[in-house]
């Protein structure tokens, strides 16, 4: 879902293909962005800001695990929605498959 690297095998030697690098960097930035949003959303949902102890207690830990699972669900749901609506109305750029 978040890290859909292609799996074509490339010759181990050869020049640097800037377009490939750019795509990989864009994908890395996207994964980092999604991760940061996930961390901040689940912190808001699960962690009490009284900060009375340094460790996650039982309830917070269980909540975080479920929160991540549900976040992935919502990510899938929104993805399907965007595909059925053929991408955002004013976005003319084509958005290739799930990559």
């Amino acid at each position: 879902m978040f890290g859909l690297g292609g799996s074509s095998s490339a010759a181990s030697s050869g020049p640097v293909n800037p377009a490939q690098i750019e795509m990989a960097v864009a994908e890395l930035d996207m994964i980092t962005d999604v991760f940061n949003r996930l961390v901040s959303s689940c912190h808001a949902k699960c962690i009490s800001t009284r900060y009375s102890e340094p460790d996650l207690n039982k309830g917070e830990s269980v909540c975080v695990d479920r929160c991540v699972a549900k976040y992935f669900d919502v990510n899938k749901k929104v993805g399907e929605r965007l595909q059925t609506m053929g991408g955002v109305a004013q976005q003319s750029g084509s958005f290739g498959g799930g990559h």
């Binding site: 864009a26 962005d33 959303s41």
Partner: protein
Amino acid sequence: MDFSQFNSAERATLNTIIEKKQMQDFMKLYSGLVERCFNSCVNDFTSKSLGSKEDICVQNCTDKFLKHSERVGARFAEHNAEQMNQQAKP
């Protein structure tokens, strides 16, 4: 954006840049929607999967945001055009 000031080579370069930016904007819209609709619709962590009420809420939240964004886009273009004419008057 007035493109008449660019020659054809510049327009080609700009179009490639614009296409990449539209891809990035679409990804930001996507991850922004996930965050916004998750925060608004999902509040019950007694289970690992989305409840039916949460599921409907996420769909309405996504649709509504896209329609909202579209309407703001239309008004935005109208206001910008209006200002361009005001400036163009001698």
